[in-house]
């Protein structure tokens, strides 16, 4: 009997570090926080009063596509980079640290599920994603259930597949050209890909807090799915298999925003003086910042572990990924809270940058299941289901 041993370095070698460092430099250069503010928060009434979708930099997205990042999670055989998930996690941390508005995270999540589906049709779509097609998961019902077999989209029986119903909480839908849709059919679920311009598909914009993304409800009114776009006969199984990587990707974004919140608040505590001292001198300020660092380090270490478990095909990867999402959500909640509070009065204003990261973090904390939800699933695994 041989047990495989996980690599001591999480599989994070030179190639992985190069990719992460490149992402860091690229985003430092192209999306300093002043630029982000200009893009998404120049006007406080734009999104919340007039209902406009916050801006994003399409030119920057073109460069990201040229860098090949849409193909990060696409295997080389389908024309992607085929990066290890641990490298993707480290790169997405940089994305979170810059609060990049883009369909990158949505596209990575869609890729993980298509990859898990593993069919020839899924691979064909992965090739398109690697070439730059942005995609998003449309798998959530109106109640916000994360159960892979719950969906409000129904597929007609018979040979010609047509979809009706709706998919809610679809991330960055207005920036994507295709959707991975789960639909109920014959008591089970299927997974298919629907192009944005499909006849019968309409996007209804959700009004959301987060200024660094968009979200939509997709309405399907007899949308015809061509046979080549049916990517999994057992949609729930594909979703379940791809889910750990989805959780890791969102957790990575959270770890990145948390790290920004930590460092930015530390900088402020070193600068701001009250009672003739830098406020970071006071232990009521210093100790919570240390606690935030400890929480985010816990989340980050579990994140790399979970990514590595998935890369290594370990059976227990799902629990590790849920732990990463839970820890990252908690660290995000704590550092979001302290980042506003320790900035004092200015931290409560529109002109301070902290709200941009606060809102992105808050959105990600609940997306695909909050910390307590993940822990309930972890408890099912560790202890067994309630009443068993």
């Amino acid at each position: 009997m041989t047990t495989k041993t996980p690599p001591r370095d999480f599989g994070f070698g030179e190639d992985e570090q190069m990719l992460r460092d490149l992402a860091r430099r690229f985003l430092d250069e192209n999306l300093p926080v002043e630029r982000l503010r200009q893009l998404v928060a120049a006007d406080s009434e734009a999104a919340y009063v007039r209902g406009e979708r916050p801006g994003w930099d399409e030119g920057l997205w073109k460069q990201i596509v040229e860098l090949g990042w849409t193909g990060l999670a696409v295997p080389e055989e389908q024309g992607g980079i085929g990066a290890k998930l641990v490298a993707i996690a480290a790169l997405v941390e940089e994305v979170g640290r810059h609060a990049l508005p883009s369909p990158l995270v949505a596209t990575l999540c869609a890729s993980h599920v298509l990859r898990a589906a593993g069919t020839a049709h899924a691979k064909a779509w992965l090739s398109r994603i690697a070439e730059g097609t942005a995609a998003s998961l449309a798998i959530t019902d109106a109640r916000g259930s994360w159960d892979p077999s719950d969906t409000d989209v129904h597929a007609s029986a018979g040979d010609a597949l047509t979809l009706s119903g709706r998919a809610c909480f679809v991330q960055d839908a207005f920036k994507c050209e295709a959707f991975v849709v789960s639909a109920r059919r014959n008591g089970g679920t299927v997974l298919c890909v629907v192009p944005r311009d499909a006849e019968g598909l309409t996007l209804e914009q959700s009004r959301i807090h987060d200024l660094t993304r968009d979200q939509a409800t997709l309405h399907f009114d007899g949308v015809r799915v061509s046979p080549g776009d049916l990517v999994a006969e057992d949609g729930a199984a594909a979703l379940r298999a791809g889910w750990p990587a989805v959780l890791v990707t969102v957790a990575a974004d959270l770890c990145g925003t948390s790290e920004w919140q930590l460092q930015t608040t530390v900088d402020y505590a070193r600068e701001r003086k009250q009672f003739d001292r830098q406020i970071g001198f006071f232990q009521a300020v210093k100790h919570p910042l240390v606690n935030g660092m400890i929480e985010n380090d816990r989340a980050r270490s579990i994140l790399y572990h979970a990514a590595c478990q998935i890369d290594e095909g370990e059976a227990d990867a799902e629990t590790a990924a849920r732990m990463a999402k839970s820890a990252a959500s908690d660290a995000g909640a704590f550092l979001s809270d302290r980042s506003v509070q320790l900035h004092g009065g200015i931290g409560f204003t529109w002109e301070c940058d902290v709200h941009l990261f606060f809102k992105r973090s808050l959105h990600n904390q609940v997306l695909y299941g909050d910390a307590a939800y993940q822990r309930a699933r972890i408890a099912d695994h560790l202890i067994g289901p309630i009443g068993a």
């Binding site: 992985e16 001198f281 232990q283 100790h287 660092m293 839970s326 820890a327 972890i378 560790l382």
Partner: protein, 401 residues
């Protein structure tokens, strides 16, 4: 399991260690072992654990990576394997922990050739037990406020003062001792000695009784104690620097040179077992969502600590080299405290039972280790001081002093 890429000699060593431990498992202890070696107070256990460490040393499982000329095995990367195998075999812990984790590494860094040759071997074999003389009644978190004085008299030093919280002092042959040799400089007025304890004229060791009623640590009084200058470690006035070396090892920021030892069982598994046999208002605690959430939280923290240790060795994933190492004492002690507290909560009213009540769940482990856990959140620099150190050294926040 060993990483597949282990060099073959390390694989051989692992196989050897595993076999040796299987074939040489010690008899059961003569009485209940306390949670940790620093709490051992009975002579029978000192005998038993001392003999076990001696056998492990002879077998090459202690001091494996230390130089041969000082009594070590002269290998590289063997100690970690030996530690892991001892944990895996759940053999009793090693008794001489102050020596292994603090005195030996400090002597290796700061000692003379004679000191290294004299002290390391008998410490590894547990013939000579070591204790630590850092804390004083007025020098706890403010460790540099040392009042125990050492005054030079020819080639001797005369020591007077009072040390407290001295674990293993009642068995100790030697103490790593910080003294004040100058009142003019707070930090540069300290000097570090290797001080004889057992039977040494002027030294008195008195037991301190903990809040749990248990013994295990002591206060040590020094009245005109004579020390030879050859027992001074590093230069006069360098005591603070030497003490920092010791604390780096004590707080787990560096890998213990001697090797720690085993008997670590997953607290989470114990907690789940407890929850399965405890009841909350007619419902099994293991079916109570609040309890389940709390247990899952503990499991996440445990995983985080294990993965922090792994990440510490991947510089590309560490932003600041001391960021994770300096968290270890803090997170480890609070983890243990919160686990024990949760165990008390799960046991409910049965947690009121002391260890000598036959009905006490897990023989009274949970409330006792909860109370004991404060020893660790306080010792080695209170966790409040640890937070200052992390805030100042890692985050660059303004200094408290």
């Amino acid at each position: 399991m060993p990483p597949a890429e282990l060099p073959s000699e390390q694989r051989d060593f692992q196989e050897y260690a595993r076999r040796w431990l299987a074939e040489n498992a010690p008899p059961p202890p003569p009485e209940r072992l306390p949670l940790m070696s620093i709490e051992v107070s009975s002579p029978a256990l000192r005998e038993y654990l001392g003999e076990w460490q001696g056998r492990c040393y002879e077998a090459g499982l202690v001091g494996a990576d230390l130089p041969v000329e000082y009594g070590g095995g002269g290998h590289e990367g063997f100690q970690r394997i030996a530690n892991r195998e001892m944990s895996r075999a759940a053999t009793p812990y090693l008794l001489n922990v102050v020596a292994l984790n603090m005195a030996i590494p400090t002597i290796l860094v700061h000692g003379t050739e004679e000191q290294k040759k004299r002290f390391i071997r008998p410490a590894l074999s547990c013939e000579e037990i070591w204790c630590q003389g850092f804390s004083e009644p007025g020098a706890g978190s403010d460790m540099a406020n040392q009042q125990t004085s050492a005054v030079r008299k020819g080639d001797k030093w005369i020591v007077n003062g009072h040390k407290v919280w001295t674990s293993l002092g009642h068995f100790a042959k030697w103490m790593i001792l910080i003294t004040r040799t100058s009142k003019e400089h707070k930090y540069d007025g300290l000097t570090y000695f290797l001080c004889p304890i057992e039977g040494h004229p002027g030294v008195t060791v008195k037991p301190l009784i903990k809040m749990t009623g248990e013994r295990g640590f002591n206060e040590v009084l020094f009245e005109d104690v004579e020390l030879d200058d050859s027992l001074r470690l590093d230069e006069v006035g360098k005591g603070w620097t030497v003490a920092m070396t010791t604390l780096t090892y004590e707080r787990g920021a560096a890998e213990g040179a001697g090797g720690g030892g085993g008997n670590r069982q997953s607290e989470i598994d114990r907690m789940i077992a407890l929850a399965r046999e405890s009841w909350k208002d007619g419902v099994r605690a293991s079916d109570d969502p609040v309890t389940r959430d709390a247990i899952a939280q503990r499991a996440i923290v445990e995983q985080g600590m294990a993965q922090n240790v792994r990440r510490m060795r991947v510089p590309a994933l560490c932003d600041h080299p001391m960021r994770l190492p300096l968290q270890m004492k803090l997170t480890g002690s609070e983890f243990a405290q919160q686990n024990a507290r949760l165990g008390v909560g799960i046991a409910g009213v049965r947690s009121t039972l002391y260890t000598n009540d036959p009905e006490a769940p897990d023989a009274g482990h949970w409330p006792l280790s909860y109370m004991d856990s404060y020893g660790h959140t306080i010792a080695a620099g209170t966790n409040e001081i640890q937070r200052n150190i992390l805030g100042e050294r890692v985050l660059g926040l303004p200094k408290s002093k």
